[in-house]
């Protein structure tokens, strides 16, 4: 088959629907990556406009530009949009677009999940913007501290928009994180062992794992605060056994890793682009990977440094102060590795390189002020002043926006297949750089002079007028610079000057294809022997287009790719992807109905929406079933591989394992909250304790033990060719018993509105019931598959996935029942 014929056949198989209809049904990472990035930059522009409004307000004393109510909405939305709707989704978009290309795969692990995540993001983000247009946007600051945001002090719907909208958007982040983790670990080109992975993939993997463990505490906090606001469950009310500090712990358990979740992908861009700009290889690949791993973990030990002024004893402060200073070591290690890379190479001052230099200058200053505020006595002085606002902008703009601009200019020829014609970018960079530093150096200064953050006005006698005016002028220079970048990018897209395939002479795989990238990404999959495949084999792109790699012959209209062993990169299984479908957008719309129902308090539609999600999820998975045993598939280079449905650890198993990792973090945060309230919150002991019941506890424990054992038996029977159906039914009965025990806990918990103890038991019981329902649905699904002949001794992947969920449900159910019943049973 000739290359052109292969291209046409593969395009017919992989292309999305033509026209705008394709936007709604595409599951292709090329489309969805672009859609993510486009939407994220729309939100970036909105966030930027809000920033300009803030600077207009603060440019002069006693400003009449906006009243405090509107100003509160403006700065809250600026922070919220930039953190949740721009920074994280930009990483997701970039990773979704680039990873399969860099890893030598044809798509990510779960294409429909990518689409579902995108639509959740688009709908959730739009919800917040619509609220702003109607003047009912969140107004409690981007970290939403109660009691300010409790129903007593913020009675309107504004805070609910934040809590519900952001939780909706975070579904997208969790979906993308699962997707990225499984893709990096399993969906790589044959031969690409871990040590041959592109550095960006390492950063993406570490960031995704951080999202999986960092976001759940915030999701929990949002759920608890919304339950308090909507139903009066007093988790954060000190007079009823709650504690507003619990919110701060949950928020910053998310919030500090979030800074590194934003920085690490940008560091991945730097580590990818910098060596190319310097015509050399990355210095200290192993050191950089180690530093990124260290940074990821250390970032989870810093959360209390946002709470230094809450009255924590000196020893507690010292733990977090020490951790906060320690985190500078792996960060510094990366910086020195990059400087070393420049030193050993021959830097060329292309536009991406200018933005990288902007990053160095800005981020190092942000890092140094970070070490300053990590020192407790200084933090006590600077806390909640404009100095902190300036510091965080140095870290986030320096550590994310400059690298992303570098990345945009670096990969723009890949996105468009064209070369830059106008040279506005250099001028734009100069304006952005000057504007940024004028704005935020001034803000450091005014903060040290005592200006509080988030104030809507100040008096002339405060002595801040000139500095604020300088800062505002700087912000407008910055805004003009960003507008010029936008114009430069649009000119690049709309002036058709065809560029060559690999304009930077880069070594990584994403340049081994025609640009813009075809829907199928690679005509055939490469075999990787080195970390710089294009330098090792300069004609690789041509050979892949000729079909000389794996899966080079299109067949059966299948969207095919390969999975590999995690460590060695040895081919392991053959995967057939689902094709275009509107299922993801429909499912995210129904998910949106659930969140909207909660927001507008139309509670009768909540169960309808949940039933809708369950129905669609069933349909989603059912379509993947095989009516007969798939054969071993020849994949090229003389190898034949089993289908993913026939292995113990299928992609679905890996996805479930990482989703359950996030879920376990949520559960651990819930248990932490329970212990925190019990031991630290004022207003304890509660007026009434839960009355333990041996019958309920016994029923639940027996159910929790029987369910995984029975399913394990079903798996053994199925493997031997027997009938697993009865054992699956016994497992189902076990899960139902566990669910009933958790339901009884909810039913009999002390009045949840009277004290945080009863409220926490209600949530714990609800968690158990919810998971028992999900596990029962999965067990029912497995039983239905068995009855329909969709399983066999060979087709066994579904068993392992259901066992994972049932085991998780049983374990967490046991914890819940013991936490509720044991204190009363122990004399």
């Amino acid at each position: 088959m000739k290359a052109l014929e292969r291209h046409r056949k593969l395009t017919a198989i992989w292309a999305s629907e033509e026209g705008f209809k394709g936007w709604f049904s595409t599951v292709n990472h090329n489309d969805l990556g672009r859609m993510f990035l486009f939407t994220a930059f729309i939100f970036f522009i909105i966030g930027g406009l809000l920033a300009m409004l803030i600077r207009v307000q603060l440019a002069t004393p006693h400003s009449a530009f906006a009243g405090p109510e509107i100003y509160n909405q403006i700065f809250t939305m600026h922070g919220t949009v930039m953190m949740f709707l721009f920074a994280i989704p930009t990483f997701e978009g970039l990773a979704i677009y680039l990873l399969p290309k860099m890893l030598g795969s044809r798509d990510l692990a779960f294409p429909r999940l990518t689409a579902y995540g995108f639509w959740c993001y688009a709908f959730g983000g739009s919800m917040l913007i619509v609220a702003m247009l109607f003047g009912i946007a969140p107004d409690g600051g981007w970290f939403m501290y109660p009691p300010l945001t409790s129903a007593i002090h913020s009675p309107g719907i504004n805070t609910d928009f934040w809590l519900i909208g952001i939780t909706f958007v975070e579904i997208s982040a969790i979906a993308a994180a699962v997707e990225i983790t499984v893709s990096v670990l399993k969906y790589r080109a044959p031969g690409m062992s871990l040590d041959k992975m592109p550095i960006f993939a390492w950063y993406a993997l570490i960031t995704a794992l951080m999202i999986l463990t960092g976001f759940p505490p915030l999701i929990l906090g949002s759920v608890l605060l919304e339950l308090e606001r909507a139903f009066g469950l007093p988790f954060f009310q000190a007079d009823l056994g709650g504690d507003s500090l619990l919110w701060q712990h949950l928020f910053w358990l998310f919030g500090h890793p979030e800074v590194y979740i934003i920085f690490l992908p940008a560091a991945g861009v730097i580590s990818t682009v910098l060596p190319v700009m310097c015509r050399t290889t990355l210095l200290g690949y192993g050191w950089i990977v180690s530093a990124a791993v260290a940074l990821a973990f250390l970032s989870f030990g810093l959360w209390v440094h946002h709470m230094f002024t809450t009255g924590i004893p000196h020893m507690g402060l010292a733990f977090f102060s020490a951790a906060s200073t320690l985190v500078a070591v792996p960060t510094g290690l990366q910086i020195f590795a990059w400087i070393g890379t420049m030193w050993k190479g021959r830097p060329e001052m292309h536009l991406p390189m200018l933005h990288i230099l902007g990053f160095f200058f800005t981020f190092v200053i942000g890092g140094l002020t970070g070490v300053m505020v990590a020192v407790v006595p200084f933090d006590w002085q600077a806390h909640d002043t404009a100095f902190i606002t300036a510091h965080l902008h140095y870290v986030l703009f320096g550590g994310f926006v400059f690298p992303i601009f570098a990345g945009i200019y670096y990969w723009l020829p890949h996105f468009t297949g064209q070369k830059r014609f106008f040279y506005l970018g250099q001028l734009a960079f100069a304006l952005v750089f000057i504007g940024f530093h004028v704005t935020f150096l001034a803000m450091h200064w005014v903060g040290l002079l005592g200006q509080r953050r988030r104030i809507s006005s100040y008096a002339p006698e405060d002595g801040w007028t000139a500095i604020n005016l300088i800062s505002s002028v700087g912000s407008f220079i910055l805004a003009i610079g960003i507008a010029l970048i936008l114009i430069d990018v649009l000119l690049h897209i709309f002036t058709a000057h065809r560029g060559r395939r690999n304009p930077w002479n880069a070594p990584s795989l994403e340049w081994a294809m025609i640009t813009p990238a075809p829907a199928y990404t690679f005509a055939s999959l490469p075999h990787i022997t080195r970390r710089d495949p294009l330098h090792a084999e300069p004609d690789l792109a041509v050979r892949l287009a000729r079909g000389e790699g794996y899966l080079g012959t299109p067949r059966n209209n299948w969207r095919e790719t390969l999975c590999v062993d995690i460590a060695s990169g040895k081919p392991e299984m053959h995967v057939i992807y689902p094709t275009n479908t509107r299922l993801p957008i429909v499912m995210s719309a129904v998910t949106g109905l659930f969140f909207l129902s909660l927001l507008l308090k139309f509670y009768w539609t909540v169960p309808l929406a949940l039933a809708g999600v369950a129905f669609l999820a069933w349909r989603w998975v059912w379509r993947l079933g095989h009516g007969h045993d798939p054969e071993m598939q020849p994949c090229g280079h003389g190898i034949s591989l089993p289908n993913a449905a026939t292995v113990e650890r299928s992609p679905g198993w890996w996805g479930s394992a990482f989703l359950l990792t996030a879920n376990a973090t949520f559960f651990a945060a819930l248990l932490f909250g329970f212990v925190f309230l019990w031991t630290v919150a004022p207003g304890w002991p509660p007026p009434e304790w839960f009355a333990p019941s041996v019958t309920e506890l016994g029923t639940g424990v027996i159910g929790a033990l029987v369910a995984p054992l029975a399913l394990g038996h079903a798996i053994r029977v199925n493997r031997q060719g027997g009938a697993p159906f009865p054992s699956v039914i016994i497992a189902l009965l076990g899960i139902v018993a566990l669910g009933l025990a958790c339901g009884a806990l909810m039913w009999r918990a002390p009045a949840p509105t009277d004290h945080a103890y009863g409220a926490t038991l209600l949530v714990l019981g609800g968690y158990g019931v919810f998971h028992a329902t999900v596990a029962a649905l999965m067990g029912g699904f497995l039983a239905a598959q068995i009855r329909q002949g969709y399983t066999s001794a060979t087709r066994r992947a579904a068993f392992a996935i259901v066992r994972l969920w049932i085991t998780y449900t049983s374990l967490t159910g046991l914890f819940i029942l013991l936490a509720a019943h044991l204190p009363g049973l122990i004399p």
Binding site: S290, A294, F297, G301, H314, A323, A567, T679
Partner: protein, 105 residues
């Protein structure tokens, strides 16, 4: 997956120990625990926790440096051992306040 776990284990154990000692410190300073709160017993309990965390890290460090337990490829061995160093240094540095500072003031 074992390879990934080897890389993650030392810093993960640090994170667990760090959170546990912080939690223990909160309990040690909570007045609900009566005579225990802020007493020399509280200090001793925290010191024991520090020593246990250190011992755990040393055990992991030793395990990951044994030739037959090291990952086969040079790169993975390097990253695994670097992570072991991270866990050990982080434990010493971040929990050292247990030795040096007053418990509950």
């Amino acid at each position: 997956m074992t390879v990934i776990l080897r890389i993650l284990i030392a810093p993960l154990v640090w994170l667990v120990c760090f959170s546990a000692v912080y939690g223990l410190h909160a309990l040690a300073c909570d007045s609900a625990f009566g005579a225990f709160a802020g007493s020399s017993t509280a200090r001793i309990v925290l010191l024991v926790a520090f020593v246990l965390a250190l011992a755990l890290q040393l055990a992991i460090f030793w395990y990951l440096h044994r030739p037959n337990q090291a990952a086969p490829a040079g790169f993975l061995r390097f990253v695994t051992r670097a992570s072991a160093w991270t866990g050990l240094v982080a434990t010493i540095w971040t929990l050292f306040p247990v030795v040096a500072l007053s418990t509950c003031t």
